[in-house]
Symmetry: C2
Subunit: 467 residues, 2 copies
């Protein structure tokens, strides 16, 4: 018993896809659904986290999912919708009636409601909004008005405030009023009489201070606030840099209109990093294991066709030197080495630069440092690898000129790789294009073309020493 505990974390989770009994569990669920045995289904799902129910959905058929979904409490329905991947969510929202959706979203905070409604076609969305209370629908409408991926979209409208001229008692009363709607309150925001943000008070300080104390006495004025139109990536980077737990969102006049908490940011950090990895490999940023195959194929094939095109371009460079190759056929065996290594070195530069742009460490103030560093690395790596290649070729083939040609081409191509690899993402960024999308293909195309050109070009010039 103790041994077992040692290895497993002890969540209160009832559904674990990796457990041995999981398949049996799914079978039971399926049987009970077929028998429409609501009692045993409810007892099997009792205490299950909505996130786990969504995991379970992956192993069920569409109709089974919906049947099970409708057995959940409205609150669990709402949370399971939130935890679904995009495609599953869309198909669910399609199946559910306006009435069902309206009932469900009554149980979550405005930012989450806004998120879910953004996936509805506008006609159906209007019907759902008409079903909500005036205040709710007004709030959601105004939040839907913010730009996608902005702080305004991300924020929750549920927060507690107190005016700076009030005393602590008033603050506690305000928290009490909000406590029912808001799941987690970490702090109370302090505003002036016009609602302009002044500071904040950590919840524990509010409760542990004598109630007649002036709010201004315990206000922390180092408050972080984002304008509603700030990009969510900037929000995430600021949270990371300053280790924030929550931050306010303000309107054009500096009045607080929402709050963002670190758990909202967690998802963004994850998404942005995932996006970078996937985009760099030419996979759509939202491809998941659950993405339908044809959709994956459709998206990936675009990238492969672009690659095919650049491959044809670089092959015309080779074609240009067909005469030389037909005389010295060993060139055909060596040319992919020069081109390939350039591609690898270029990818290293691209990756480091893209990652540093994403984390905010590389900005317009220090791009030149980054390029200079990458180029220096390129020169040094080029010298080292050029020397290794020269030595290997000379030893194996016994031809000094051949070794020199390969080594020199390698050296030059590595320099090109580091320069292009660092400049391209920075240029794309300055043109407001996501550098993760297009950089790597551009860089490897360049290193292929240059690699073939330098190597075969040099070989053609020194052809008479190579035969």
């Amino acid at each position: 018993m103790e041994e077992e505990r040692k290895k497993e974390s002890e969540f209160r989770i009832k559904i674990d896809r990796d457990s041995d009994s999981y398949e049996d569990f799914v079978d039971q669920i399926k049987t009970s659904i077929e028998a429409k045995d609501q009692t045993s289904l409810k007892s099997m799902l009792d205490g299950a986290h909505p996130a786990d129910v969504v995991t379970l959905f992956k192993d069920l058929e569409k109709e089974e999912e919906l049947y099970l979904f409708r057995l959940l409490s409205y609150e669990d329905q709402a949370y399971s919708l939130i935890k679904m991947e995009e495609e599953t969510l869309e198909s669910f929202l399609e199946e559910l009636s306006v009435d069902e959706i309206s009932k469900t979203i009554g149980h979550i905070e405005t930012d989450e409601t806004t998120y879910l409604l953004s996936y509805l076609p506008s006609a159906k969305r209007e019907l759902v909004l008409a079903n909500l209370s005036k205040t709710d629908s007004f709030e959601i409408r105004s939040q839907l008005g913010f730009r996608e991926y902005s702080a305004g979209r991300l924020m929750s409208k549920d927060f507690a405030t107190v005016t700076i001229t009030d005393n602590v008692r008033k603050g506690i009363i305000n928290v009490r009023k909000k406590a029912k709607e808001i799941e987690d309150i970490y702090q109370v925001y302090v505003t002036n009489e016009d609602g302009v943000l002044e500071g904040f008070i950590p919840l524990k300080d509010l409760f542990l201070t004598p109630i007649n104390t002036k709010v201004s006495k315990i206000t922390n004025f180092s408050v972080f606030a984002f304008h509603y139109d700030v990009d969510q990536e900037e929000v995430a980077n600021t949270f990371k840099k300053y280790d924030l737990v929550s931050a306010a969102v303000t309107d054009d006049l500096g009045r607080i209109i929402g709050r963002i908490t670190v758990d909202d940011v967690l998802e963004i950090v994850e998404e942005e990093a995932s996006e970078d990895i996937l985009l760099m490999a030419g996979v759509s940023e939202d491809e998941r294991l659950s993405t339908p195959i044809l959709q994956s194929v459709k998206r990936r094939i675009v990238w492969l066709n672009v690659n095919l095109l650049t491959a044809f371009v670089s092959s015309t460079v080779v074609a240009f030197f067909e005469d030389t190759i037909s005389q010295i056929v060993v060139l055909a065996t060596l040319m992919p080495i020069v081109a390939g290594l350039g591609g690898n070195a270029g990818t290293q530069s691209v990756t480091v630069v893209i990652r540093n742009i994403a984390t905010g460490d590389l900005s317009f103030s220090n791009w030149w440092d980054a390029v200079r560093k990458e180029f220096t690395i390129g020169v040094l790596n080029g010298l080292a690898l050029g020397a290794v290649t020269f030595t290997m070729i000379y030893l194996v083939k016994g031809n000094l000129t051949l070794g020199l040609v390969v080594g020199t081409a390698m050296f030059v191509n590595m320099m090109v790789a580091s320069l292009v690899g660092s400049l391209v993402p920075i240029l794309l960024k300055s043109m407001k294009i996501d550098p993760a999308i297009a950089s790597s293909i551009f860089v490897t195309a360049t290193t292929d073309v240059c690699g073939f050109f330098f190597f075969l070009g040099l070989a053609t010039v020194f052809a008479k020493y190579l035969v």
Copy 2:
């Protein structure tokens, strides 16, 4: 004024590297350091966030950094140490005396102290520990005893508890006792009389409930807890999956020994994602823009040399077909296309699989689904790209057999790419090797070898129709 506000988020930050006045600011700082003008330095840094001071350090010389550092309050010193990148931190800890370090770390929580001390050489660490109070040094020692990258290392030992048999009054008293040491309290953990974790109470509920209420009445029993030896990546994935704000850490007997909050997890999510991107490109996982050039070179060159080796291997495959190439030199221009596209398709599969392993969406229960999906994509993309290539070659070169040879080789290589690309990371993972490190090189080496082999092999078989 309003316009300006619209664009900028209004943090209380005084140091902004991207602002126009930043260079002047750095110059002023440098001049004041030279003049040892502590008064103006302190006023210039007044209200600056330690994270910003660390950013400023990047533009100063080593001695200037240290001079400025020593002007900070002990608390700000501690936080700026925490925000430093590994190499800067190490060099700082080397320069600071045992006495200085001891004074500084008195002002932060145990998990942060443990983090800083883990960067000290053990002799110096012992001296610092000897300077601390018995309780502190005992706590830090025990935390240093946990495995690196485990929940135990990550957790903070500062948390408030209440026994389930007590009433709310006792809970509030316990919070009050801890309030001075702990920056953020979100919840109070509920234990039985042996300290075994039973549940938690959100702070607002504790304060808003009549003080004579039994703790058991308002305890939320759906508490998340990790055993101290659980890996931090699992911790992060659980936080993401269940949208946690904080979780308990327990010992072998289920007693609470610490807590992890979502802001600790933010850094891990970022790190793990960064690591994957960098490792896949053959860059060391902790390479930053600030990494010294020679260190970057040293680390990247290892990867490039491995690549060079695999490139030589695949070039021997080409060498095997030199006779065919010397007869039909067009093969040399086309062979990189087949190999290259296979590499691209393989990288797509590798990336999707690695990302899904990292996020926990791909586990041992569904790896076969993933491989089957990737292979199906490989077949479909292979058919499509094979057809495109066939058509293009046939139209351009006017040789039906050549088109068929290229197209078929392309098709087969794409299938191999998807299979190898999905299987290799899963295999590495099952052997407890980080799939991000070695997968992509293995996959591209395979697609190179197979691409050259299938294409040149087929060409050799059908050589007489190609001339």
